[in-house]
């Protein structure tokens, strides 16, 4: 297994709350890696620290052999990490296509001067951005809504659009924060196929999810967080039988968590 991302002793404290303490894990290239745990376990905080929305109090991330900059989201995206949000955050007033085109921003470099003069580079870049965005909409299966305003899409389609937008940044690691939340069984099934397809196309996936069936059926390896600590990490079948994990979910004492 070639390591893509390594978290080394990540810690994050909010006042009196230790949201993450000494979390270390490694994600291999081409894996679908699950991050699970009860509500408030620190999963989303881990995402926010990883993607630069928060600065960690301790530890560092090694991505592709280099240390990730902390607290600078746009530099993290440039390195090749894209994310989606637990509560969908689209650009609501823009069309679906424009949402995805905006996602391509970091991979384009037209200057104000180029835009003013509409030079060859700018026109060509804009054409490629448009085409690529349309292809990505096709990829997630919502190309028929390309010109619809994002806020008017159905819930499931908004989720897909957010994934397409994240893919437009050309990531090596795609971090999905509860993508199946609020979806019915059919939609979850389609989502599973989509995530699997993304992995087969060479993108590593980091998945936070509550839907245990989805996690167990999809992930190669799973880490379990509880009260900001990693209490287990293994293949799904083993994690499922781990006593500490069962305890964390069912409230059977927190021997391992404290």
């Amino acid at each position: 297994m070639i390591t893509l991302l390594e978290a080394r002793g990540i810690g994050k404290r909010f006042g009196g709350l230790q949201a993450l303490s000494d979390v270390s894990l490694t994600i291999g290239k081409g894996e679908i890696y699950g991050l699970i745990g009860p509500n408030g376990a620190g999963k989303t905080t881990f995402f926010n620290v990883l993607t630069g929305a928060y600065t960690p109090d301790g530890g560092e991330f090694i991505f592709n052999g280099t240390v990730l900059p902390s607290g600078k989201p746009h530099l993290v995206v440039a390195q090749g990490i894209a994310r989606t949000f637990q509560n969908i955050r689209l650009f609501r007033e823009l069309t679906a296509l424009e949402n995805v085109m905006a996602g391509h921003h970091i991979r384009t470099n037209a200057t104000v001067w180029g835009i003013l003069t509409q030079n060859k580079h700018t026109v060509e870049e804009e054409r490629l951005t448009t085409e690529r965005a349309y292809e990505l909409l096709k990829y997630v299966g919502i190309e028929r809504f390309a010109t619809a305003t994002a806020k008017n899409l159905s819930y499931g389609d908004q989720r897909r659009l957010e994934i397409a937008r994240a893919l437009a940044t050309e990531p090596q690691l795609l971090a999905l924060d509860e993508p199946a939340a609020g979806m019915n069984a059919t939609e979850t099934g389609q989502l599973k196929l989509l995530i699997d397809q993304i992995r087969r196309d060479g993108i590593t996936v980091l998945l936070i999810e509550h839907d245990v069936k989805l996690v167990m059926g999809l992930c190669d390896r799973v880490a379990v967080l509880d009260f900001g600590r990693k209490i287990a990490e293994d293949v799904p079948a083993v994690v499922q039988k781990n006593e500490a994990v069962i305890g964390a979910y069912l409230g059977g004492g927190h021997k391992n968590a404290h």
């Binding site: 993607t51 929305a53 989201p73 746009h74 995206v77 440039a78 894209a82 994310r83 949000f85 955050r89 689209l90 650009f91 609501r92 007033e93 823009l94 069309t95 296509l97 424009e98 085109m101 905006a102 996602g103 391509h104 921003h105 970091i106 384009t108 037209a110 104000v112 835009i115 003013l116 509409q118 700018t122 870049e125 804009e126 054409r127 951005t129 448009t130 085409e131 349309y134 390309a146 010109t147 305003t149 937008r165 994240a166 437009a168 940044t169």
Partner: protein, 366 residues
């Protein structure tokens, strides 16, 4: 241009091509029509064009990037004073217009960045308060920088600014075609300003459908998500402030030269609010809206000034309400009616105007 054409009532949707020619014809013919009512009205149109330039620039900051700026007139002041310093007997410097205009725009852009840095983390109301303060600071500086060293000549302002001279052609002189026929200088200014406005519209529309315009729209809709897809929101905000300020500075320089006189009282808070009202009234985030808003709201007070007194005298025999009082009254009324009837402005921003056509031209959308 296309947005304006589409905004033409009735005709715009049925025959955009005809509407486009109508808009062009109106833009070119407007001063000729205005001349029929007297020279003053051509002057009103000249000022309207300057306000359009201002509204376009402010629309870029407020409408596109979603940064509420209540001190926008400060950039207008920077442009006007730059012109006054570099092209008047005040310091006895008389640089040509091709040097002064870029400098005025450049200084205004620098002022925009200077304002931008401290307010990067502010949003909404807080941003509005700081920008409001910035606008007042600039005005108060202009008012007081006459002592101990006289730089701005204080409240008296600076007189006798140079007229605009294009390739040795003085726009402030009437052209004598024959003995009886002459082209008034107001016309020359009108067409020069019109060219500036047309160029600005083209630039702004290109910006709107570019990666920069999308980044602004993304930032306006959801700043956190914009960061998460790799948009450097700091740079994009500074760019919005500086580009918006550029148009303010350009308009200010043209204003100084056209008026031939600048003084701090032209750059009060009320002016900032007036320009913002134009943008909001026309429709935020929409080029056509900014233009129509600026046109209507800059002409309205002039029409009132000419109508209010005679009408009241005819009706009541004496003047009950001063036109200035009436102006604020009607402006407020217009805003209230707009909020009730068309909350998104006269011509609401519509992604479909600018983007979908753009996509169609690329063969993507049906």
């Amino acid at each position: 241009m296309n947005e304006l054409a589409l905004a033409v009532p009735w005709l715009g949707k049925r025959n955009p091509q005809a509407a486009r020619w109508l808009v062009i014809a109106l833009a070119i013919g407007a001063p000729l029509i205005a001349m029929a009512f007297g020279r003053t009205w051509v002057r009103v149109l000249d000022f309207a064009l300057l306000y359009i330039l201002l509204a376009l620039g402010l629309n870029l900051v407020v409408g596109f990037a979603g940064l509420l700026d209540l001190g926008y007139i400060a950039f207008y002041a920077v442009g006007a004073y730059t012109f006054a310093f570099l092209s008047s007997p005040h310091f006895d410097v008389h640089l040509p217009i091709w040097v002064v205009l870029p400098l005025a725009a450049g200084f205004a852009a620098t002022a925009g960045i200077m304002l931008g840095f401290p307010v990067l983390r502010l949003r909404g109301d807080y941003l509005a308060i700081v920008t409001l303060g910035f606008g007042e600071i600039v005005r108060i500086f202009m008012n007081n920088l006459n002592y101990p060293v006289n730089i701005t000549n204080g409240p008296q302002g600076i007189n006798a600014l140079d007229p605009i001279i294009l390739f040795g052609w003085d726009l402030s002189r009437n052209i004598q075609v024959t003995e009886e026929v002459s082209i008034n200088s107001l016309f020359l200014y009108y067409y020069f300003f019109l060219a500036c406005v047309a160029g600005s519209i083209m630039f702004i529309q290109r910006l709107q459908i570019s990666r920069v315009g999308r980044a602004w729209a993304a930032m306006r809709d959801d700043e956190l998500a914009a960061k998460a897809i790799g948009i450097n929101t700091r740079n994009m905000k500074l760019l919005a402030f500086s580009l918006g300020a550029t148009f303010g500075g350009l308009s200010g320089a043209l204003f100084g030269s056209f008026q031939g006189f600048v003084s701090p009282e032209s750059f009060s808070l009320m002016e900032s609010i007036a320009v913002l009202t134009m943008v909001v009234f026309g429709g935020m985030g929409n080029v056509a809206g900014a233009i129509v808003g600026a046109l209507i709201l800059s002409a309205l007070p002039e029409i009132l000034r000419h109508l209010a007194v005679p009408v009241q005298q005819a009706l009541f025999g004496h003047v009950l309400l001063d036109p200035e009082v009436l102006r604020m009254l009607l402006l407020s009324l217009a805003m209230i009616l707009m909020m009730l009837l068309r909350p998104a402005g006269l011509i609401p921003a519509n992604a479909k105007y600018s983007h979908i056509r753009h996509l169609k031209s690329k063969g993507v959308a049906q």
